[in-house]
């Protein structure tokens, strides 16, 4: 297997402890993580095949009898590795609030209306070019109880499987120009500003469909590179 997973790139991730996001305080380990070599266990991972995903999984506006309320959008992008190579057959899952900022989740207490025509969950299996594409509606911002008057910027939750279990990524995609960015401790848990900006989708007129839906591009870069003969996969 010619896959290597450099550990330095993981510095882009937020630390486990980010006290401004108060729920991290009791859920972040206090002991140092133990550095271990990557074995066959870490360098492999689940492989999803065609047949697992239906066409309607990628269009969140056609999953019910009627159309959901809200601003229809298209989100597309490529799943890439650290060298910019497309990751084919990557399972991309997403879930989101409706246009009013309410999740269908049974525990969501936000007093905003549910939409009987919107569940807010979708899946896509990337093609050979690593591309995915969803049609959905733009989610609303919603309040949470982290601190006084706390509101999450509008976001869509993404879950992506790459070539190995260590490439696995769960993240959130945001929309350009959101005025809530400076106040959100989850977004700002990422220390590097340029890394934070990688979570903001780009409005794209070419993806936008006339008289139908606004288009956004959001590329997802996963851990992992192809090893060159000079590199030894089991050393850090």
């Amino acid at each position: 297997m010619a896959l290597i997973l450099p550990t330095d790139s993981t510095a882009a991730h937020p630390p486990s402890l980010h006290p401004a996001y108060t729920s991290t305080v009791l859920r972040a380990p206090q002991q140092p993580l133990i550095l271990v070599p990557h074995t066959l266990t870490e360098l492999t991972g689940p492989v999803y095949g065609h047949g697992k995903v239906r066409d309607t999984d990628a269009d969140l506006t056609v999953q019910h009898a009627g159309e959901p309320l809200g601003e229809r959008i298209i989100i597309t992008g490529r799943v890439l590795d650290e060298d910019g190579r497309p990751v084919p057959h990557a399972l991309v899952e997403l879930w989101q609030a409706n246009a009013a900022g309410r999740y269908v989740h049974v525990r969501d207490q936000h007093p905003a209306p549910l939409d009987p025509n919107f569940t807010g969950a979708g899946r896509y299996l990337t093609g050979e070019d690593g591309r995915y594409r969803f049609t959905t509606i733009r989610p609303g911002a919603y309040p949470w109880r982290n601190h006084h008057n706390a509101w999450r910027p509008a976001h869509i939750h993404f879950s992506v499987f790459g070539p190995s279990f260590l490439s696995r990524l769960v993240t959130q995609m945001y929309f350009p120009g959101d005025p809530l960015f400076p106040f959100d401790p989850i977004f700002n848990g990422i220390p590097d500003e340029r890394a934070r900006e990688r979570l903001i989708a780009r409005f794209d007129l070419e993806t936008t469909q006339p008289e139908w839906a606004l288009g956004y591009q959001f590329d997802i870069v996963l851990r992992g590179r192809e090893a060159t003969p000079m590199e030894e996969p089991h050393e850090h």
Binding site: Y21, T41, R85, H157, I186
Partner: protein, 200 residues
């Protein structure tokens, strides 16, 4: 090969799975419109190997159960082979994927029904004791934590090259206890008896 101009400036950073992942990732039967990508049933009936249950509870630094975590597991089959092109060895059963996903209940319990993995190749030609790779996601967790589940009745634990890197006093946090066909391993995110998590 890609050129420098197309090389990304870095990986996409992680964000928490949040409190509302269930209907997207672990819908079970509660959200019938949502397809299930993976759940706690890792091994279908007829999968070769010894059928086991891996279960336990997730606790936070105050010793309280974590009711909104999600665990994902990745494991070899009973012969120690992975369902992945990176493991080129032939397998007895092509239906066994080796991947599972479980949310935690109100009391912090997760649960997987699977088969016990075999020994797998390790670094430098050394064998690894049977183990399951575990990733823990949750509200209040900005990125997943990686740990492993080993089995208390495996003599190979004594020579496992990864366990050997863990201080002896903390190794027990990685070793599931057996009662019948059920292995139990609690995960403590913080504090006394804190689970060993790996930098990988």
């Amino acid at each position: 090969m890609s050129t420098d101009s197309t090389r990304p400036e870095g990986i996409t950073p992680s964000q928490t799975v949040g409190p509302f992942f269930h209907y997207g990732l672990t819908p079970g039967t509660a959200y019938p419109h949502v397809p299930v990508s993976a759940d706690g049933h890792v091994a279908a009936a007829g999968t070769p190997g010894e059928r086991i249950v891996l279960t336990g509870r997730v606790f936070d630094g105050a010793g309280e159960p974590v009711p909104d975590a999600m665990l994902e597991i990745w494991q070899a089959d009973s012969d120690g082979r992975y369902a992945h092109p990176g493991d080129g060895r032939a397998r007895q059963s092509n239906s066994f994927m080796g991947f599972g996903r479980s949310d935690t209940r109100a009391d912090g319990t997760y649960r997987f029904e699977t088969v016990k993995p075999g020994k797998v190749p390790g670094p430098g030609g050394r064998e690894q004791a049977p183990h399951i790779l575990v990733a823990v996601f949750g509200r209040g967790m900005l990125k997943q934590l990686f740990t492993r589940a080993y089995f208390e009745d495996e003599a190979a634990n004594a020579s496992d090259p990864i366990l050997a890197l863990v201080p002896e006093a903390r190794r027990g946090t990685l070793i599931a206890k057996r009662h019948g066909d059920t292995y139990t391993l609690d995960i403590r995110l913080q504090g006394e008896g804190e689970t060993v998590f790996f930098a990988v």
